[in-house]
């Protein structure tokens, strides 16, 4: 099974994308392919997670070539968990998109683009080769640009241009750093780099390369001061596109930070750690302040992505076991909650014919179920117990206090309060308040409603489940964090030897 399972979460959507492109004129065929591909990805990822939980890190040497000469797919608990979440979000949003993507979008090529995006994301989470990671980043970028443009209105063009340029430069930085790293060590395999980097004589060059990778992945993760592309573009495309972007794309950047700065640059403790701490704090604050100045629902949510990324970077920056657990737990929690919020935002925009809070209102009376489905992820984002966000924040609070980082802990709490303020503002303005002018009748039919609210309810249920049955998720994060901080088993699996 090791011969193909680790790669299936990538191959299924990739093949699906190619076939969907071939079936360009038959939209029903594309829908079927999409359904099959996303469910296969989810199922494969689930089985993969179970295997890794049972046996420890698994490695697939693609093409049968030994590492570090060929490419290896190295799956530890973190990677497998990320793959599962990708499958969950991918399937949920695919269902939502059935009602959200109109005929024009499907003609534009929504399905192959969407599946290719999922393939790229899964590939990034599962690969054990740094250049291969770069390739999957580029696959994601190309697919993302396409998805941003599906439906094309002028705002989309503006947002996409900024997104494309800034992200292209980000991946270019990654490529540059890759070249330098290869030039210094002679290898591209991450487990191999773990062994080779400490032996390089020129520590300064190694540190400079590490900093460049920090800039590159930081751009991808939308940290301060590199996050501009996100609030400039995330509010422009279809709601389902926003949701899958918000949930997955920035987290790939965070994952890359987690992986590279524990596996490849493990020894570079102090300078990088200092940089990460400052970045974490600044990101948390600037993100939440940015949200406070907005009036459009999706723009508010976009800035909150930035703020929450700060929390995840904080977990990494602490470099303690509890911090890593917090970071991993936070990533999982946030993916589910953020995607869900964007999906809800999309429905709210449909009902209110626009996303401007000043014009919206009365949604509580109009659609009580939607109100509840908004309240759950919003409360979770703000850290209200007993939902997933509370545990995520508690873990990070404990970790930062235990590590003596008082300022960061205080920042995290204050930003949490401001997040609560922001979510309540949306609730007050969009749901509780009456609209200044009567709104047009909703554009949401019965069948659409099931397709739109079903995935939202499912994701909300996941959030509640993580909040109430917390132990399994914490245990998962704990084991995942252990592998990150001590990659011996991971490296052994890649090299094909016993640990």
């Amino acid at each position: 099974m090791t011969a193909w399972l680790p790669v299936l979460p990538v191959v299924a959507p990739l093949l699906g994308a190619a076939l969907a492109a071939v079936a360009r004129r038959q939209v029903p065929a594309q829908r079927l392919i999409a359904l099959v591909a996303t469910s296969t990805q989810l199922a494969a990822a689930g089985v993969l997670l179970a295997e890794v939980w049972r046996r420890g890190p698994i490695a697939l040497h693609v093409g049968g070539w030994p590492a570090p000469f060929g490419i290896v797919f190295a799956v530890d608990l973190l990677g497998a968990t990320m793959a599962v979440i990708t499958g969950v979000i991918g399937t949920a949003v695919a269902v939502y998109a059935r009602a959200d993507a109109d005929a024009g979008a499907e003609r534009d090529g929504f399905h192959p683009l969407y599946l290719a995006l999922l393939a790229g994301v899964a590939g990034a989470f599962l690969t054990g080769d740094l250049f291969n990671l770069y390739v999957w980043f580029e696959v994601m970028l190309a697919a993302a640009i396409g998805l941003l443009l599906v439906g094309t209105r002028p705002a989309q063009l503006d947002g996409t241009l900024k997104y494309a340029l800034l992200n292209l430069i980000g991946t270019t930085f990654f490529l540059v750093a890759l070249g330098w790293l290869y030039g210094l060590t002679g290898t591209l395999n991450m487990a191999d780099l773990h062994l080779r980097v400490p032996a390089v004589e020129n520590r300064g060059a190694v540190l400079a390369t590490a900093m460049l990778l920090l800039v590159a992945f930081g751009t991808k993760s939308a940290v301060f001061p590199l996050f501009f592309w996100l609030p400039a573009s995330y509010h422009t495309p279809l709601a389902s596109v926003s949701a899958v972007f918000a949930g997955l794309l920035t987290k790939v950047g965070v994952y890359a930070l987690l992986r590279v700065f524990t596996l490849v640059f493990a020894g570079e403790g102090t300078a990088i750690q200092t940089a990460l701490c400052w970045i974490a704090g600044a990101t948390m604050v600037t993100g939440v302040l940015g949200a406070a100045a907005q009036q459009d629902v999706r723009r508010i949510l976009s800035f909150h992505i930035v703020s929450q990324i700060g929390y995840m970077v904080l977990g990494l920056a602490l470099y303690t076991p509890l911090g890593m657990v917090g970071a991993i737990f936070y990533v999982v929690h946030h993916i589910v909650v953020k995607a869900n919020l964007f999906l809800v935002g999309g429905v709210a925009e449909r009902l209110a014919d626009g996303g401007d809070l000043r014009r919206m209102g009365g949604l509580y009376r109009r659609d009580g179920l939607l109100a509840v489905l908004f309240a759950v992820p919003a409360a979770s984002l703000a850290g209200l117990p007993p939902l997933s966000g509370f545990w995520a924040k508690l873990l990070l609070l404990q970790a930062s206090l235990a590590a003596g980082r008082w300022a960061l802990a205080a920042t995290a709490l204050v930003v949490g309060l401001l997040t609560l303020y922001s979510m309540t503002k949306i609730w007050n303005e969009a749901f509780w308040k009456d609209p200044p002018e009567p709104l047009p009748a909703g554009r949401v039919s019965g069948r659409s409603r099931a397709l739109l609210l079903g995935p939202i309810a499912a994701l909300a249920a996941v959030t509640v489940a993580i909040g109430l049955w917390t132990q399994p998720f914490v245990a998962l994060a704990e084991r995942g964090a252990a592998t990150l901080l001590d990659p011996a088993a991971y490296v052994a699996a890649v090299r094909g030897v016993a640990p």
């Binding site: 250049f131 094309t152 002028p154 241009l161 900024k162 494309a164 270019t172 509010h235 009036q295």
Partner: protein, 123 residues
């Protein structure tokens, strides 16, 4: 040789960055093209330049040593990078063309549809 071409890569990078910061979107595009050229050259240099060697095993031989071939890995990486950046550059070109059409401008400072200039603020 690495030294000189490293400096060349740096020069092209500087020119590319300067162009990318221009107001005219067309020159920004030129910057993108130059940047990928610079980066590819950079990777090539990082893989170390060699004279008089090829990444080919001549007929009659079954293998060669590392000192007998040009670095094939850096070449493969650069080839992949060329193709990828080529694809993305084409997309950017089409994007700029469409932007010029629909938004009616090639001025980077005029791209204000998704982020309007004056956003009212209210508690």
């Amino acid at each position: 040789m690495d030294t000189v071409y490293a400096a060349v890569a740096g020069t092209v990078t500087a020119c590319a960055v300067y162009l990318l910061l221009d107001r005219n979107l067309v020159r920004v595009l030129l910057g993108v093209i130059l940047l990928s050229a610079a980066v590819n050259l950079g990777i090539f240099v990082a893989g170390r330049l060699s004279r008089g060697l090829l990444p080919l095993i001549p007929p009659g031989l079954e293998r060669l040593g590392a000192a007998d071939v040009a670095n094939p890995l850096s070449q493969a990486l650069v080839l992949t990078a060329i193709v990828i950046s080529f694809g993305l550059t084409a997309v950017l070109l089409a994007l700029v063309l469409r932007t010029a059409r629909d938004l009616g401008t090639l001025d980077a400072d005029d791209l204000r549809v998704s982020e309007p200039r004056r956003e009212e603020v209210q508690a």
